[in-house]
């Protein structure tokens, strides 16, 4: 791609081919995997925000979600299992000029990386964490995850899952994340808008994307093909704009979508850098 076309990227309508590594396509995700839709929403938001690809860093962990960074035409880092937030913390602190986006999964961020998630929320360092929740460890063959719904069959819950699930957004909000949101992949435009707000937010932004794993999870649980799974996900979500409308009593288990929390807690990086600047002034005076 030559320089001229790149410079005009923001002026053109969004074309995902401007933001993916074409030599890596087609990607390795299974047919109907919602992660692809989530990736589109992310790149669409990046386009609308007019972010410079050269200053965009995409950090991912391990699992199906972890592979996505390789397809983004940006500075991409495919790190270790559960740790992308920790890598990203170092990167974002060392390079505040970069826009840091973390792509992680339910197992990556809530199980093995749970500690990093809560502390990233608490620290409120400017970055956006996109958590693709497909309720399963897909890459390893479909084991139960911290978000696998009750009674669902997985390769490690042959009699159905007995463990309760994490509400990732409630967790992130309680831990202090500056921005928390959730959306289903079917609402791709809304998802794009949500991610856009999350990236624009100054602080730690956590976005849970309700994705679908058709091939492994859906099939084992008779959830239908991707279109059915996507529609099913939407059916149990309740956009935050509904507030407390009449359907609440009838759908007590519905998860809220949209922006679930946005606070003006101080962003950690800038407050640390202010301290550094003060220390440097002080040591200058000492001499």
């Amino acid at each position: 791609m030559n320089m001229e076309t790149e410079m005009n990227l923001q002026d053109r309508p969004f074309d995902i081919n401007d933001y993916i590594r074409l030599n890596m396509m087609p990607h390795f995700l299974c047919p109907g995997c919602g992660h692809g839709i989530a990736l589109r929403a992310l790149l669409w938001a990046v386009h609308e925000l007019g972010l410079d690809k050269d200053r965009l860093a995409v950090v991912s962990g391990i699992g199906c979600s972890g592979r996505l960074s390789a397809y983004v035409d940006a500075n991409s880092f495919h790190t270790t299992h559960g740790r992308p937030l920790a890598f990203a913390t170092g990167l974002a602190l060392a390079r505040p000029d970069l826009t840091v986006i973390v792509i992680t999964g339910d197992g990556d961020s809530l199980a093995i990386g749970g500690n990093h998630l809560i502390h990233a929320c608490r620290r409120n360092l400017n970055m956006t964490c996109l958590m693709l929740n497909n309720e399963i460890y897909g890459m390893t063959g479909g084991q139960v995850s911290p978000t696998t719904s009750a009674d669902r069959y997985t390769t490690t819950t042959p009699a159905g899952n007995r463990e309760p699930v994490f509400d990732a957004c409630a967790l992130a909000a309680a831990a202090g994340a500056g921005f928390v949101g959730r959306e289903v992949t079917l609402q791709v435009t809304g998802l794009k808008d949500l991610i856009r707000k999350a990236i624009a937010h100054d602080g730690f932004s956590f976005v849970e994307v309700i994705s679908d794993c058709t091939e492994i999870y859906g099939r084992k649980n008779d959830l239908g093909a991707s279109p059915e799974m996507m529609l099913g996900q939407k059916a149990v979500m309740r956009p935050d704009t509904y507030r407390s409308t009449v359907d609440v009593p009838f759908r007590p288990n519905a998860l809220k979508t949209g922006v679930l929390q946005q606070t003006d807690r101080p962003e950690y990086g800038s407050s640390y850098r202010a301290m550094v600047a003060a220390r440097q002034r002080d040591s200058g005076e000492d001499r």
């Binding site: 050269d54 991409s76 920790a86 890598f87 060392a94 390079r95 970069l98 502390h119």
Partner: protein, 379 residues
């Protein structure tokens, strides 16, 4: 600026060496007996515009250091036994993805929580083999506070030049020892080669003449991919046998090619030594005294002290021992026998190599070592 004479603790010297080497990012987690390094860095880094962060755990601090280094900033973390174990997976990532970084391990008694405030040298093999899979790593083992300062600078220099993680292996005694140090202000560390030139043909893991590919820095326009998966020169995962062989092979070939730059060792009274002592760290300090005492009594003892512990200065040891004509080699160490395995591997076919081990939380004394040498020479 002139050099400064300071009374410094080993851990502080390590922190100041890092600053002098251009380290501008430190992530750590509190652990005895290395915490002073983090404490010193938390105060010193802001003065030079750097960033200190205390992460939520040892794993995260290793990851954050790699993250900062991927951003193009010289970075370090420090820990001790249990933390070093936790860092191993990400240390392997730095090996595989060739991310420069310095990891300080101030060794304490083990296994497990062991004896946090007592010295040991039980991580010699872990420092070399701690992370899974074939990998290469550089390990430096200074034996004084002054050397801790200079070796920390050298650790950054090697890490940056060769794109390899460097482990600085201290022991609790060196870490907490306070000595008068002359801080040279001339010592500096290199900065890694960043990628330059045309972006179109850029390959982040291209095979260059020096086997060290220039590193793409975010923001410079290369938009490269970095992964812990085995990757081809283009940075993307591969499982093609020839590409895999080339990729893994280059990691070790790189260190072989730059062996002269990496290896560092000292010898003392080695030329005519009948018995050669091989030791590192605080044990080598004791051995130095033992050699002095023995020589004063006419006993021909010598010392070979690897400063670069891994890759082990094989040829240097062979040469020094061959030249001396020593008939026995003693390897004193504060463990049940780790360094001795490497020395046996190198010399054991021709010479008698034995260990002198202490693993009770107390350092080996010069008298312990001298006695063992005499025992060896006894008819």
């Amino acid at each position: 600026m002139t050099s400064r004479r300071l009374n410094l603790q080993g851990n502080q010297a390590c922190a100041l060496g890092a600053i002098a080497a251009g380290c501008r990012f430190f992530a750590g987690y509190p652990i005895t007996p290395s915490s002073e390094i983090a404490e010193t860095m938390s105060g010193e880094l802001p003065r030079v515009g750097g960033t200190f962060v205390q992460m939520e755990d040892e794993i995260a601090s290793m990851a954050a250091v790699i993250g900062a280094s991927m951003g193009g900033v010289k970075a370090m973390t420090a820990t001790s036994g249990p933390g070093f174990s936790l860092k191993q997976e990400n240390l392997g990532y730095a090996c595989g993805a060739e991310i420069p970084c310095v990891v300080v391990n101030v060794m304490r008694g083990g296994p497990s929580t062991g004896m946090p405030t007592r010295p040991a040298q039980g991580d010699i093999m872990q420092a070399r083999w701690g992370t899974h899979g074939d990998h290469t790593v550089i390990v430096l083992a200074p034996a004084s506070v002054a050397e801790t300062y200079s070796e920390t600078i050298r650790a950054f220099d090697l890490s940056e030049r060769l794109r390899v993680p460097v482990v600085l292996l201290l022991d609790e005694v060196i870490g907490h020892l306070v000595e008068t140090v002359e801080l040279g202000t001339t010592a500096t560390a290199a900065t890694r080669k960043f990628a330059t030139g045309p972006r179109e043909e850029f390959q982040p893991y291209a095979v260059t003449e020096d086997l060290v590919p220039p590193m793409p820095r975010p923001g410079d326009g290369y938009r490269a991919h970095t992964t812990g998966l085995t990757h081809a020169p283009d940075g993307f995962p591969t499982q093609k046998p020839d590409e895999v062989r080339a990729a893994i092979g280059r990691l070790s070939d790189k260190l072989v090619l730059h062996r002269e730059l990496i290896e560092s060792w000292h010898s003392q009274a080695a030329d005519d030594a009948e018995v050669m002592i091989v030791a590192i760290g605080i044990t080598a300090r004791a051995a130095q005294k033992a050699v002095d005492d023995l020589r004063a009594q006419g006993v021909r003892a010598g010392l070979f002290r690897p400063v670069t512990l891994w890759p082990f200065p094989e040829q240097a040891l062979r040469d020094v021992v061959a030249k001396s004509g020593a008939r026995a080699v003693i390897v004193p160490e504060m463990n049940q026998g780790q360094l001795v395995l490497e020395v046996e591997r190198l010399l054991g076919r021709d010479l008698k190599v034995t260990g002198l081990n202490r693993f009770d939380g107390e350092p080996l004394s010069p008298a312990d070592i001298a006695a063992r040498v005499r025992e060896e020479l006894a008819p």
